[in-house]
Each structure stands twice: as structure tokens, then as C-alpha cells.
Symmetry: C2
Subunit: 149 residues, 2 copies
Amino acid sequence: MDRSKKDQKAALGGLDDQIGFALRLAQVAVFKDFIAALKMFGLRPTDFSVLAVIAATPGLKQQEVGELLHIQRPNLVIILDQLQARGLIMRGNAPRDRRSYALSLTAEGEALLEGAKIAQGLHENRVDALLEGFDKTMIIAALKRISTL
Amino acid sequence: MDRSKKDQKAALGGLDDQIGFALRLAQVAVFKDFIAALKMFGLRPTDFSVLAVIAATPGLKQQEVGELLHIQRPNLVIILDQLQARGLIMRGNAPRDRRSYALSLTAEGEALLEGAKIAQGLHENRVDALLEGFDKTMIIAALKRISTL
DNA sequence: TATTGTTATACTCTATAACTATA
DNA sequence: TATAGTTATAGAGTATAACAATA
């Protein structure tokens, strides 16, 4: 171990051995890159995830989307308003419940999501390149386990 | 693989294979537990990290603390104001630069940090318990690597 | 001129209470 | 009485510009 690394470790007072500290720094770095990757589509990470979930299961209600992505219902309303104003999603009639909407993507939404997914793949490749020598599948499994805390 | 897990995977539209999505959920879960662990000390994660860094290297300037923890200088001012108002830190005179302060913990700050570090250890143990079967050292190494993105 | 700490401010995210229309 | 979506709002956390004191 070289001197500069030892010094940094001392300077952080044991912080860099904390899983939470390491998680936060990693998450900030990955989101920074992901946000940049989505910028040309006018999407934020949350927008992307909402579109992806609706595309995977058309007909979903707002509450169901919120539960899947851990987005509070009031906050999801704003996000969907914006996506709808851009013509990316539709709030269709739900089969037998006039309180809720059946969400779906427009053709434009499908097209944009397809492009965004390519950008997301390139972003993921950049992360993968850094993880050479690590078992990414195992890392994601560990992260999912941690999420159950 | 059982049916419910397959369904969930489909419903998330591939999102749960994204490193960023997994990172975010894990970070939220860990911070939720960490925030709860620190609550009885009246500290937030950021307060804890600031105290830990100052304790590790007394005499640090505000800017140096900000660089170590990725906290913008204006935001750090507020945090230090609060810690100082509680009598946990001191803004001493810097040796040969009257623009900056030499930061240090008060005796009270040292005592509080010691207690908080114990709580942090218990928190870390809870995470470790979940990670049985995983190589935590390798996971943290991977997270640090990801942070260089 | 450049830097340290500061003030003011704004923007995003997230969280909660209360309303409406339906069930 | 409960639920889905909505509105309004409040609280974190984070970001930038500009100023005073000092280098």
C-alpha cells in the first residue's frame, strides 16, 4: 500500500470502510454518468424508470407504478403530467375502475424509450469496464440483499 | 426460479439488472438504517462524517473537510454552525492564515462521536449479517472502483 | 489577482395532509 | 368507509453567484 492511500485512509477516519459511505459515493458517480447519458432524451433517471415499467406492463395504474419504483403517489402525478404533456404516455381508461388510469406509452414514447435504452446500455458498459476482475452478477445480488435491510 | 420472482422481473422491465437501480435501492436502505442509528445522538450521516474527519485530523480547514466529503463550502458552513452551536466543534485560529479556521472537536464532541461510532458499528453489523455468503471486502472494493467513473 | 469563509438564493427530491370522485 | 388520483405545501439536500477579509 502506497503512502498517499494510507494518508487518505487516515484522513477519512475509518469512513471509507463503511458500506454506507462507499455506497453513497458509488451511487453518486453512477447517477452522474446516467443523468448525462439520458440528457439528450430530456429524461431523468426517474422518467426513464417510469417509462420502462409502463412499457413492460401496459395498463398499470399510477399507484402500481409508484409501488414498483418507490415513488410517492403525489410525486408521480407531476412526473406523469410532464411525460403526458410531451406526448410520451397516455392515461387511458381502466377496465372496471373509473378512479384509476390504465397507463401506456404512445408510439412516440416507445420510440424515445428505445433510444434511451441504447444510451442506458452504453452507460452500463462504462460501469462494466470498470468492474473487470469483479463478478458483477454477484455484486448486484449483494446490493439486492442489502436493499432488504 | 419461482413464478412471483419472474413476474417482478418482467414488471420492472429489466430495471433490476441495472447497476444504478440496485445501487440506489441499497443506498436508500442502508441510509435509512444509519439515520435511525444516529438519531439518538442528534446527528445526520453528514454530521457524523464531518465529526469523524475532524477527529481523524484535527486542524483541518473547512475547505479541506469539504473536499474530503464532497460537501460544497457554502453547505458546510451551515453544518459547522450547527455543530459549533451545540458545542461539538471549535473553529480555532489557523497557524499562518487568518482567513481560515483550524477545526477540532471539543471534549463533548469527542464523547458524542465515540458513542455515535458504537451505534455505527452496530449498524454496520446489521448490514454484515445480511451479507453472509458475500465477500464484503470485495464489494467495498468494487464500490470504490465504481466511484471513479 | 486568488482564496477562505460567508450570505443569499434556487432548484431538485422527497414527504405529508387534505381534497374529489369513485368504489 | 376505503381507495385512486390530485393539490398544495413543506422539508431535506444540493448547487451557484457574489461579497468581505485575507493572502
